[in-house]
Amino acid sequence: MGNCFKSSSNDDISLLRGNDTESNESTIEPPPFVEPPPPYRAQPEPQRRMPIYHPSPGVSRPANQLSEDEQIKIAQRLGLINHLPTGKYDGTNKKAKECVICMNEFLIGEPLRYLPCMHIYHKECIDDWLMRSFTCPSCMEPVDAALLTTYQTN
């Protein structure tokens, strides 16, 4: 049995182990021709050390391969994220106990970020997500729309 899961993050057919090992008649036969990997994984594996950015959902690129437009977009996104209020968990909020992203309980003193929809996450967890998609994971509310209305009413 091959261990192909180490180099497995390239496309969703090859990364799934067992395609070639299970072949009773109830499973799908291998395709008659080799299909190109799905486009969202078609780019070469980014280098490890370089910070990876996500100029749009599903697109990831190392910092040195960003176009100028993408760099601007990311800078703007970082600016917007930094406008969102932060705080430290003090144990008084009885409703928000667990971060749905990492599924760990909030610990006293951990940095949190509050979204306009009032959903709360670890700062580190939600910032990672907001760089990919500017929506609240829990309610799917777009964050920037809410931000803009807050600015206008202030």
Binding site: F5, S8, S9, E25, I28, P31, C102, S133, M140
Partner: protein
């Protein structure tokens, strides 16, 4: 190999402790990010009585990226192609890290109950569905009998 994130450990434990009705998901003994999944065809659907094998893989970036899921058992469905790939928005652009393995599998089960030929992955099947729904459903039922009825001994 780097350690398994706590979230994956927790999700696996919860899947084992409180399994979803009609669905089993068992992590591979050699790779804790790879799950052997069996979904029972929902009642009132042409897949009723069938047991469908799927594979589910949690990529390195999970939960920032969606799990990768594929049908291993042949299935006649407008949103599932010949390679078993699934057209489901939450596996693509509607993914959110608040979703879990459990919710993904429930959505796939729901997709079996409600095929959507207007958002097809397999055009031939979708055309069949739209031009003659009764005959398409018969075909789906036949495939269920032929391909999803084998003995499901999981190792």
């Amino acid at each position: 190999m780097s350690g398994l994130p706590r979230r994956i450990i927790k999700e696996t434990q919860r899947l084992m402790a409180e399994p979803v009705s009609g669905i089993t998901a068992v992590p591979d003994e050699h790779n804790s990010r790879y799950f052997h999944v069996v979904v029972a065809g929902p009642s009132q659907s042409p897949y009723e009585g069938g047991l469908f094998k799927l594979e589910l893989f949690l990529p390195e970036e999970y939960p920032m990226s969606a799990p990768k899921v594929r049908f291993m058992t042949k299935i006649y469905h407008p949103n599932i192609d010949k390679l078993g790939r699934i057209c489901l928005d939450i596996l693509k652009d509607k993914w959110s890290p608040a979703l879990q393995i459990r919710t993904v599998l429930l959505s796939i089960q729901a997709l079996l109950s409600a095929p959507n030929p207007d958002d097809p992955l397999d055009n031939n099947v979708a055309d069949h569905w739209k031009s003659n729904e009764k005959s398409a459903i018969d075909q789906a039922r036949q495939w269920t009998q032929t391909y999803a009825k084998s003995n499901m001994n999981n190792h």
